[in-house]
């Protein structure tokens, strides 16, 4: 295993842990964003083909879209509470 994959994997594991420990739902999204970066990089490093790159891009952009939707929903429900 390459040293790069080990470093990225370690960052990803640390982020997973911090997502579980963080209480604030908004700040969970920040850690989740960092985790998406890690997963996207790992997809590209493991699937060494142009299709792997496209998969990484599509994964990353759609995960940003869902983060966007979740953050919007948290802001909206704040008024209801």
């Amino acid at each position: 295993m390459d040293i790069l994959e080990i470093v990225i994997g370690a960052v990803a594991l640390l982020m997973t842990l911090r997502i579980f420990l963080e209480r604030s739902r908004a700040r969970k999204l920040l850690y989740l964003c960092c985790l998406s970066f890690c997963i996207s990089a790992l997809i590209a490093l493991y699937v060494k083909s142009p299709m792997g790159g496209i998969t990484a891009i599509v994964y990353f952009i759609t995960s940003t879209l869902s983060s966007n939707a979740i953050a919007y929903t948290i802001e909206q429900t704040k008024h209801i509470e």
């Binding site: 960052v11 964003c33 590209a44 060494k48």
Partner: protein, 166 residues
């Protein structure tokens, strides 16, 4: 053993280059000035609640809510690693589509993808593109994953210096 030290050094240098690339471009395009979408505003306020800087918080919120120069930098390094320079150009197009999907007018993502493509093609003989992939993960880790309070204070200071937001 020597090889590992060299590759770690390369990764750190690539990380520093990526960090400077995406922070300067994102700040220049006004990410810290105002939240581009409603969700980014909420994240900025939450970061301010823990003692951070509001404009630094907007910066972090905007990164979460739409693919900006940070995403452009990562995805362009990935495609440069897998496909070469053409990959960087394809990424610029896809990131631009992603920006439009997130209702973000920002051209930060596209410009970021293009500048990192230029940097990688210049530095290719010394630092291979795969080090930029890992370097970008480390760069985003220092902003989003390490310490939100101090990261937002630093980003706020940079924004102030570049006349973006207070």
């Amino acid at each position: 053993m020597d090889e590992i030290v060299v590759s770690i050094l390369k990764m750190l240098v690539a990380g520093a280059i990526c960090w400077i690339n995406f922070v300067i471009i994102d700040t220049y395009f006004g990410l810290p000035e105002q939240p581009g979408v409603l969700g980014a505003k909420m994240i900025g306020e939450k970061v301010k609640d823990i003692g951070g800087n509001l404009h630094g918080g907007y910066f972090m919120g905007n990164i979460v809510c739409s693919p900006d120069a940070s995403a452009g930098t990562l995805l362009a390094s990935i495609m440069n690693y897998l496909m070469g320079v053409e990959g960087g150009l394809i990424t610029a197009l896809l990131v631009w589509i992603g920006n439009r999907l997130c209702a973000d007018p920002g051209y930060a993502g596209t410009i970021g993808a293009l500048t990192i493509t230029a940097i990688i093609s210049l530095l290719k003989p010394i630092i291979e593109p795969k080090y930029f992939v890992a370097g970008m993960v480390l760069a985003i880790f220092t902003i989003q994953g390490l310490d939100h309070k101090h990261a937002s204070l630093l980003l706020g200071k940079i924004a102030k210096k570049m006349n973006r937001g207070e």
